[in-house]
Symmetry: C2
Amino acid sequence: MNYSNQQPTREPSAEQALVGAPGLQPTSGPLTREELQLAARNHSMPLEMLRREVTPPGLHYVLTHFDIPDPDASSWHLRIGGAVERALELGIAALHRDPAITVPVTLECAGNGRSLLEPRPVSQPWVLEAVGTAYWTGVPLAYLLGKAGVLPDAVEVVFTGADAGVQGGVPQQYARSLPIREALRPDVVLAYKMNGADLPPQHGYPLRLVVPGWYGMASVKWLQSIDVVRSPFTGFQQQPAYRYQSTADDAGTPVTRIRVRSLMVPPGVPDFFTRRRFLRPGPVMLEGRAWSGEGAVSAVEVGIDGTWLPAHLDKPVGGFAWRRWSLPWVADPGEHVLACRATDITGATQPLEQNWNYQGMGNNVVQRVSVTVE
Amino acid sequence: MNYSNQQPTREPSAEQALVGAPGLQPTSGPLTREELQLAARNHSMPLEMLRREVTPPGLHYVLTHFDIPDPDASSWHLRIGGAVERALELGIAALHRDPAITVPVTLECAGNGRSLLEPRPVSQPWVLEAVGTAYWTGVPLAYLLGKAGVLPDAVEVVFTGADAGVQGGVPQQYARSLPIREALRPDVVLAYKMNGADLPPQHGYPLRLVVPGWYGMASVKWLQSIDVVRSPFTGFQQQPAYRYQSTADDAGTPVTRIRVRSLMVPPGVPDFFTRRRFLRPGPVMLEGRAWSGEGAVSAVEVGIDGTWLPAHLDKPVGGFAWRRWSLPWVADPGEHVLACRATDITGATQPLEQNWNYQGMGNNVVQRVSVTVE
């Protein structure tokens, strides 16, 4: 078995893409031990941390397909090659000498909300919290591609990480591509710092890609090589994985940008087990964050027992970072259901009922929070 | 409803202690939505991080009963009172002027391994990874208790955190006690730094207790007050919670020190979904860490297909920090089962079959890792 960045030795099926266990279909059955193992490894952001514009270290969501690599930064090199005028090989010290940018970016896992789908695609069983916002610092990808010189017949750029394993029966290193036009955007960054500190191991140390506006799978961690290619990349994580499909046989469409979404800080205090919320009567500030990879968030409405009210929006902090919203509420005794719904400048808005798809991707259903006021 | 540190208004039952949902018994049934929500909130340490002596930020396990508080450190105060000669109230700046110590400590959740029990106590469904090691810096608790002057009839010290909510039907702030003799140990620390940096929010910012050798529930986070008391504390998290019980009606015994345990870095690479390991034939260094709250680890054995071999032990880095072990292995093609088993100087060793108890506490069964060599 070879874990290098080879093309698949077997043709994976759509089911394999989803679960890595051939034949396992979306299910209405109980959560499996394998899903629990994934939930224990991959962590999400407790929703009370929506209070913070920047997600503190260790609370940003993390999804790792295989193991977290532990590379030696002193011997680590990034290779840039393929359809370029000159191949490059750069150590971390060289990258630090290149011009740097810092961009605030909200990243969300494409599979966020998967466990809420019915039937449930069997994979990482996210609930609602697979999100986080950080300031990423590093070299613009466009700058390095300019140094290398992209040849005219290039169509995509392939990014390969050091993380290796087996998925859907296919030995692989994690790899994803971007179209040339996306790769040359000025805000796409090869990041070596997160919130001003060295990348933590689980976020791609010593170097990762960050693609603002796209779901997290595009932002390849533990980056080893960048290959400019003349035909579309067909590696496992590009297809069959990360596609919107209606059935296993549907070729589907690729998952790309983050759909508009808002989440709320659950008010009051929780019950340990049920996470149901308890609140005293009186004034309370409902607040949360909203984001979209398709265009700026233009409105957030808050639903209180089915009545929608417009929330106040704070100034945006960046094109692809979440935007704070708030609405004062006077809580009266009884049972209440709160909700929030964002709309972006393209007119896209969050659905009230979830849109099902075979891999459980791009879920952005309205969040609902049950509150007991007493 | 009052969420201050009151005594319970209702008498909680043992079932309520366990699950916060009266009447929910240990089960052989499927994982519940409530357990999945807890797994999504509370994160554990991916086992490959056992390579590191110090767990990197964000990878140390975290269990939060309620929400992560977000206190304003500038107005935050620690109150020390009760059976003392003089009550104290200290801001964070005052605490920074007191003498500081730094201690390396392995913390493990008392419920680690709970999801592996059969029947399964229904609560936070840890698999194996609820552990981590950090260097904690702060003021020795004994120093501050000395300043306050403990009165002769004092028997325990009660620690109350800012985290509030409902568990087992009981509104509460998280609170736990220590016997006086434990509270006066020289290595028990009121920590304001973790690995040299300010405490992250999820680890108790701005101040927490760290009790080396005890399961994590003793190390109260977001510390607000310390009360020296003249009779044993009976708050919810002291009893009925965190006790070794055989049935719901058994008064049980309190959970205190960490039972001897070892864990292994799973060798090779994983399958994404099953986490099964794949390895090439040839030499590989098996390694991991071992710890005990009862006394130093004195031996680790590695099981290879049922044959136990003694591992090499590195020097210990502290009385209550894990100790690295390693054993070279030549992997031959086929299916193998690897295991590790630690023993401490008290003679305690890890069981080959798990010891069941009603709350799923203190699990330290031998870890087994299935590996395909090909």
